[in-house]
Assembly symmetry: C2
Homo-oligomer: 204 residues x 2
Amino acid sequence: MVNSRAGRPPGPSQVRDRLIAAGTRQFMERGYDRATVRSIAQEAGVDHAMVNYWFGSKEGLLRAVMDVLITPGEVIDRVLARRPADLATALLTAAVSLWDRPEVAAGFRALLREGIDEGPGHRLVQEYIGRRLVARLEEVIGGRDAAARAAAAAAIMSGLLLTRYVLRIEPIARLSGDEVVRACAPSLRIALEGSRPRPRPRDA
Amino acid sequence: MVNSRAGRPPGPSQVRDRLIAAGTRQFMERGYDRATVRSIAQEAGVDHAMVNYWFGSKEGLLRAVMDVLITPGEVIDRVLARRPADLATALLTAAVSLWDRPEVAAGFRALLREGIDEGPGHRLVQEYIGRRLVARLEEVIGGRDAAARAAAAAAIMSGLLLTRYVLRIEPIARLSGDEVVRACAPSLRIALEGSRPRPRPRDA
């Protein structure tokens, strides 16, 4: 199965995306030491020199993978640590400024490609979004129907990512970051709080 | 380019998805008559007998493609023709009952796979969602910032599709259709109406 993608000639940005996807899978499944530059390149169906070309080293690839896998969770943690008065706006502002970095969008594109097809990549994406993001959000917002509200919030954030960054649908792709935050914040706020407003934590 | 995918051995459900994606592209680009069963199967990288196996005939494949491509637009048209008091709930109810049909989710999965990679499939998905769905919604909701509100609404619908039907993230994947409508309707309503409620059309 390792070389199942080798027949499809990859373009330059696909090489990078596929190395991130293969690196993600191998680092998660084998651990950093046992996942070699060669095994990752082989799984991605590209020459192993491409790892150095795109990431400098195996460690550089790990940083790229972690950026993609870990940062969104850190964004939630960082935003929550500030106990913002308006959690929706704070989350959206943090997410948009992160996702506007081209390499993050490319990483999500790679992960989404994994997530659509069946296989280990699919389960990885499911578990990462489900456990690390939705479950964390559910814990934080609490209260009645927290699971359904966290799910609705995750759908909104995922939909923003899909339409603006992956599919680049107009007009959302050409709005400024501020306009996106303004357009989506009311919906995200309702998802997080439920339709009857609850008292919100204030800035200390 | 026609055979660029032939090196990746497709599983059974991928065969169907890829025939729908190839059929979509060829019907749109060449028209129904010039797109042959052979050319579509060749582009999908599968034997042409698979068209009859999965769809009965070229016409059956066209119906499957149209189901995927046209029905969501028809759903909007049908919902709007009724002038529902609660447009958000009506749209979500219609969409969820449509998307809960497994073959529709499979078609969207194929289109999304196209949409993620660069190429004609990407542009097709962009144009379809952007022009047929978002622009139609913008026209219908009207008023200040209609484009941004239509974009936010499209992000919510796309995010629901992605998290529940394509990635099957928990808990949204296991909620009942009614629970999904209840969880997402307040957010979609705010997106469609803006944060200050506007007078809504009533049922005749």
